[in-house]
Symmetry: C2
Subunit: 354 residues, 2 copies
């Protein structure tokens, strides 16, 4: 029997609502498969600003480092939008990413067959076998972490990448591709940016170590088009922090399943941070309306990537699928003839299926 220490950061808005259901799912997994999960609940984002006046208290970082993994709800909201720069709730995310060395952001964009009607793309583009893209986004470098500043009536931001930074994220992408459809599309803007030319050179080197993987590169403007035109051409998309922010959101949206998509942020070790890709939706917080599925699926990613508990991860994913197949939906995804349920009920239903 194993004991896993999980740092839990509910955060803002619907964060607490959805995290609660995810923890119930973990509890059930523990019972069924004989593991124990120990939680320490921590503050970050707006919640931390309200309680302690800063978005990311040192205690939060320290506890996360002492845990086997981090489960995060969502941070931010209009309440803290007037704050500037270093005091914004989003700084908590950046601080956790860099503080924990989480350089690899994995964002699956998967179309759930049951939600096909919600997909904005025409049926002939999606076809019968759905969509399954994995965006691998560099998360601790690029223009997010370069020097920036204002100088009188001018401002600047610096986009920087080192060979080492590109190499480790490229390796991740190729390793992941080996377990999937063995194709990597590296996205850059090498016709303009020096960082992109470095990026491309390094990725080409790494690609040589994976002869089984089909490798191609694509300009970011073209990638933004191709995701809409023919998304099935993609298996793994590998890209930098800023381009990854844009393209992974676009990729999620074309699935039409945005309330359903989890994410994992990984580093060199086993500690990872797992969170839904959607935001904190403060307008529906605390009303038992929010869709907890993205967060629940984030726990499945945690079990798989941080704890190597494949069977348990599968159990969660299958439970979600069968609840959907039975026609239960939260309000955001309910269609005609389907059964509308609240946040708690959706949690109950998934727990029961495990």
């Amino acid at each position: 029997q194993m004991n896993y220490k999980i740092a839990v950061i509910p955060g803002d808005g619907i964060g607490p609502d959805i995290i609660k259901e995810a923890q119930r799912v973990l509890e059930k997994i523990g019972e069924v498969y004989g593991h124990t999960f120990e939680y320490s609940e921590l503050l970050a984002g707006g919640a931390a600003l309200d309680a302690e006046g800063i978005p990311l208290p040192q205690k939060t970082i320290d506890e996360c480092k002492n845990s086997d993994s981090v489960l995060l709800g969502a941070v931010g909201g209009p309440k803290w939008d007037h704050l500037d720069g270093k005091m914004r709730p989003e700084q908590a995310l950046l601080g956790l990413r860099s503080g924990l060395g989480l350089f690899a952001n994995l964002r699956p964009a998967v179309l759930f067959n049951e939600l096909k009607a919600a997909c904005p793309l025409k049926d002939e583009i999606i076809g019968d076998d759905g969509l399954d893209i994995m965006c691998v986004r560099e998360l601790t470098g690029g223009i997010y972490f370069g020097k920036r500043g204002t100088d009188g009536s001018k401002a600047f931001d610096t986009l920087e990448y080192s060979e080492e930074e590109v190499k480790r994220i490229a390796k991740q992408a190729f390793e992941i591709a080996m377990k999937r459809d063995k194709k990597v599309t590296s996205v850059d803007k090498a016709n303009i940016l020096d960082t992109s030319r470095l990026w491309r050179k390094v990725v080409e080197e790494v690609a040589k170590d994976y002869p089984e993987v089909t490798y191609e590169h694509m300009y970011v403007d073209n990638a933004a088009m191709q995701l809409v035109r023919y998304p099935k051409q993609f298996d793994v998309i590998l890209t930098g922090n800023m381009f990854g922010d844009i393209l992974s959101d676009e990729a999620s949206m074309i699935t039409g399943s945005i309330g359903m998509l989890p994410s994992a942020s990984l580093g060199e070790g086993k500690v990872g941070m797992y969170e839904p890709i959607h935001g904190s939706a403060p307008d529906i917080a605390g009303q038992n309306i929010a869709n907890p599925i993205a967060t629940i699926l984030s726990t499945a990613m945690m079990l798989r990537y941080s704890f190597s508990l494949e069977k348990e991860a599968d159990a969660i994913e299958n439970a979600v699928k069968s609840v959907l197949a039975k026609g239960y939906r939260t309000k955001d995804i309910v269609g005609t003839g389907e059964q509308s349920v609240g946040t708690n009920e959706m949690g109950d239903l998934i727990v029961q299926e495990i």
Copy 2:
């Protein structure tokens, strides 16, 4: 009777094919409305590299400056892909943009009703009244023109904006919105970038001078999603050089009419550069296959924006619409029951309608 001096840069790939048809259309406009157009044909891109060893000869820049406007086909192709940095054909575009001070890139993303079948989005998203978005992209600043370099195993690029640069492009966007549906969505990443915070501050200032225009700002990742989810929410999208590159391409693709979309690049004066948004498609060059419509519509933009010839611009746009309505299509857009025609025939048909 007016005489207009037009610098013509056919460029590479299908560039010469489509430029030829656009010139025939201009000739017809001249006959019907009593104007003369005088052309000077210039080299840029791959064609200039082949002939003179550099992508943008000084003569080209000089002649463009001495003209009333520039009409460009397309530049680049695999033949010159091995060249690096300063010698790439795309440098011609950058050199023309900055050399002519063309800071405002206007990219209409319009869905042609006749091509609705080619739109990748579901019918319920598009509705009956089509799509009509105008992307206004800053074109001579941002990360395209900041300091860049490589330093051992590291590389960097600098994103810079001054208040002045933001102000003039913002004004353009609001002026354009006044002639359209009076809504501007300014896109940035103000939760991360100092340049975006400057951008937002300046745009908010400019917005005050246009009380009739609804103004909103949106993060770039969200904008990439919203374009797919509900594109009809947009009227004018105002953004920087890099985000504009990505979003305007995404916006074009959701119209499904990419071979049909023109663009204009404008500066302080009347001289502008007009070009299709599509690429040079070297694989189909010289085969009488390419779709000349985007280039022909670019001449309409030239007549409207540089020469204030509204009637003449309308005549071209209406001619294109009626040829499409009669069922004629080039190969790239032909559907069942439609008449497939070559580049020249499409040119003929449009000329006849004027």
